[in-house]
């Protein structure tokens, strides 16, 4: 009986495992993000640093179409202020920091009087503006490669935020003998494979990693942090990865908190039901 159950359980765990990628990559870093685990929460300071990196570095090429400026002030977000929450009769739309950040951006709109396409300062209700009008324009500016939208990137790749942080730090020196084609860059954490620049028959087993079209986006001190944190590539990579995790799953904190209440209730409820069951059956053999 127990054997069967353990077999089933083990099987489900195995089946749940991902199919292995066909090319090897450098083992992703094991980063202890604050949001991991059943009681995880976002580190607001980290999210603020991450947003700055996105705004100053990534948003030049990568859109984030599913995020609106008001989301920055939502519970769990980088600029959440309890004074601007429903409990105080306000929303993140009223948050002055959010309004200021929105106003920094120029958003495409239509002049209601002339019908012309114009750009105006953003409001909290506006989505993050995309750097390119469409995919074709994005490709044209990036050598034919399309920089993907980052709204869900932390959930759209195996390994999630740890993969992203590893990738951003993965621009190591290409191994000897690897030819890196123009417009491509060697990255030890990218699972794309190096077959474009490595002849397996002549050179043997290919090195780990792959060739990615994105040039190394981060550099030491490229983004200055307002809270004084040392701006190393490693720090930037972790912070922007945490920000992307928040962007992909803004309800993470709420989900885990509700989970705790539900689990406690269900465990107690199961206990009550078991006691009730034993009481009902106390005179019956079965």
């Amino acid at each position: 009986m127990l054997r069967k159950v353990t077999l089933l359980a083990a099987a489900l765990v195995l089946i749940g495992g991902p199919a292995l990628a066909s090319s090897k990559v450098k083992e992703p870093q094991d980063i202890a993000f604050s949001f991991e685990g059943p009681f995880g929460t976002f580190d607001q300071a980290q999210l603020q640093r991450g947003y700055k990196i996105y705004r100053e570095v990534c948003s030049a090429c990568h859109s984030m179409n599913l995020l609106a400026f008001r989301n920055l002030g939502d519970r769990g977000g980088p600029f959440y202020d309890p004074a601007y929450s429903p409990a105080h009769g306000k929303t993140s739309n009223d948050n002055p920091v959010v309004k200021a950040l929105a106003a920094e951006a120029q958003v495409a709109d239509i002049d209601p009087e002339t019908g012309d396409a114009i750009k105006r300062p953003g409001t909290p209700a506006d989505r993050f503006p995309a750097p390119f009008a469409n995919d074709a324009a994005a490709r044209a500016s990036n050598g034919g490669a399309l920089p993907p939208d980052l709204s869900l990137m932390a959930k759209a790749r195996e390994g999630g935020p740890e993969y992203i942080a590893s990738l951003l730090q993965g621009y190591l020196t290409p191994p000897a003998g690897l030819i890196v084609p123009a417009g491509q860059h060697y990255n030890a954490s990218f699972p794309g494979g190096v077959s474009a620049g490595w002849d397996e028959k002549k050179q043997g087993h290919p090195p780990e990693g792959g060739l990615i079209a994105m040039a190394p986006p981060l550099a030491d001190d490229k983004v200055s942090f307002d809270d004084g944190t040392k701006s190393t590539v490693r720090q930037q990579a972790q912070d922007v990865a945490a920000f992307l995790m928040w962007a992909a799953e803004p309800k993470l904190e709420e989900r885990k908190q509700m989970g705790l209440s539900v689990m406690i209730f269900l465990i107690l409820f199961s206990g009550l039901l078991y006691a009730s069951y034993r009481r009902v059956w106390r005179h019956e053999s079965h």
């Binding site: 199919a19 869900l152 759209a156 539900v262 199961s270 039901l273 069951y277 019956e284």
Partner: protein
């Protein structure tokens, strides 16, 4: 169950209603006073659990449909709108997606319980067939539901499965075009999948009613496989079975809550968080975990049509089970040889599931290179799939028919509450 109804309406209203529509009488006879074998173990709580799963999926599905847009341009964004903007939308979506997985976990346990205890044998053949129909409808519903978010896996999974029908000679292409409503999986396909995904669960509910009706006509099976002979063998459904089912459901909900709140994407695929792109195929197209064994069987055979026939044949074997098994003894508790083959069958199903998630050419034991047989290296998942598929079909078509004729079962107790074999009854 041919007993006389003992329901007695107590109030004026209930008497008035009983004379016009005896629905309270039906409820009482079916779920309160209904004689239930006293020795049912926890594997029997999964029927109630499955009803709970169906209810959860229907309720969460209906509210999700209030916010979802079934259009190729807007589907993905509407799902994210649900996740981010709709009040508790993230909860509803995760409940629905993980609820589908829980539904299949429960149905597989429920079906395996049926195989182990011989619940499909006479006079329960129709009960079993109805159950298979429910399973088939569940698979169709789940397949179409997975397409709706219009992610990469949604789209390309739909392409693979709908393209299977083109394997049939002469009519294949026409059938596939009819399914698509276009020249490929596209907008019309999504729209009709949404309509049918909304419809099928209500058909499932209808067949479930028939399933419970068929059950109540012949009565439950029980771990001994011996029918109740007297009142000493049974207990009224309420409160005995009701409270046990409730406890079973509550434990099941703990597992469900663990998934929903702490690992909501564990059973999904990262690729489905990428919007569908017809021009780019993901590196690994993998169906949801509950389809993996059939996917492995499909890919095990080298010919496309043979693979499709094998996949449908694997499901057909389940339907045919009551007539394949020749054993006179129902429960494998008293059939040690059958039990051994069953456990191997269980492991084989799990292996098939594992194979379905892998690339056919990947090595089972990394680094070991062996001889190629019929073009594929022996140390590959496709050959493991072939081995496992062979056992799968052999189990239904060879083992089940022959074992009933050749094995020597253990002595079966006279009755459920037989004092003679009191200890043996306590075994699994």
């Amino acid at each position: 169950m041919s007993g006389h109804s003992t329901y007695e309406p107590k109030t004026g209203f209930t008497r008035w209603l009983d004379a016009r529509l005896p629905i309270l009488r039906l409820g009482h006879d079916s779920f309160v006073d209904y004689p239930t074998p006293r020795n049912l173990n926890y594997w029997w709580t999964f029927g109630g659990i499955l009803s709970l799963c169906l209810a959860v999926q229907i309720v969460t599905g209906i509210v999700l449909a209030m916010h979802y847009t079934p259009s190729a341009a807007a589907a993905f964004t509407s799902v994210e709108h649900i996740m981010r903007d709709v009040n508790y939308g993230w909860l509803l979506r995760y409940m629905h997606a993980n609820g589908a997985s829980m539904f299949f976990i429960a149905v597989y346990i429920h079906m395996l319980r049926g195989v182990y205890y011989g619940s499909y044998k006479a006079p329960r053949e129709v009960l079993w067939i109805l159950g298979c129909v429910i399973y088939l409808l569940m698979m169709a519903t789940a397949f179409m539901g997975y397409v709706l978010p219009w992610g990469q896996m949604s789209f390309h999974g739909a392409v693979v499965i709908t393209s299977l029908f083109s394997a049939f000679p002469v009519v294949g292409e026409a059938i596939t075009t009819l399914l698509w409503g276009a020249f490929a999986v596209d907008e019309p396909t999504l729209k009709r999948f949404f309509s049918l995904h909304y419809l099928l669960p209500f058909m499932i509910a209808g067949v479930v009613i028939l399933h419970v009706w068929a059950l109540h006509v012949v009565g439950q099976n029980n771990p001994t496989g011996v029918d109740p002979k007297s009142k000493a063998d049974t207990l009224p459904f309420t409160p005995y079975a009701t409270v046990k089912d409730a406890f079973g459901m509550s434990v099941f909900l703990i597992l469900f809550a663990t998934l929903v709140f702490y690992m909501p994407d564990a059973l999904g695929h990262a690729d489905n968080y990428v919007p569908a792109n017809p021009l780019v195929t993901p590196a690994h197209i993998v169906p949801e975990w509950y389809f993996l064994p059939f996917y492995a069987i499909l890919r095990a055979l080298p010919d496309k049509l043979m693979g499709v026939l094998a996949m449908f044949g694997a499901i057909a074997c389940i339907f045919a089970l009551p007539w394949l098994d020749t054993s006179k003894v129902k429960s494998m508790r008293y059939r040690p040889q059958a039990r051994a083959y069953f456990l191997i069958f269980l492991v084989v199903c799990i292996i098939l599931g594992f194979c379905g998630a892998k690339l056919p050419s990947d090595q089972v034991i990394p680094g070991l290179v062996t001889v190629p047989v019929f073009g594929d290296d022996l140390n590959s998942f496709v050959w493991l799939s072939r081995l496992a598929t062979a056992y799968y079909f052999a189990y239904f078509l060879v083992v089940m028919p022959l074992l009933g004729l050749t094995e020597k079962p253990l002595p079966v107790p006279e009755t459920i509450s037989s004092p003679v074999l009191g200890d043996a009854d306590k075994k699994d």
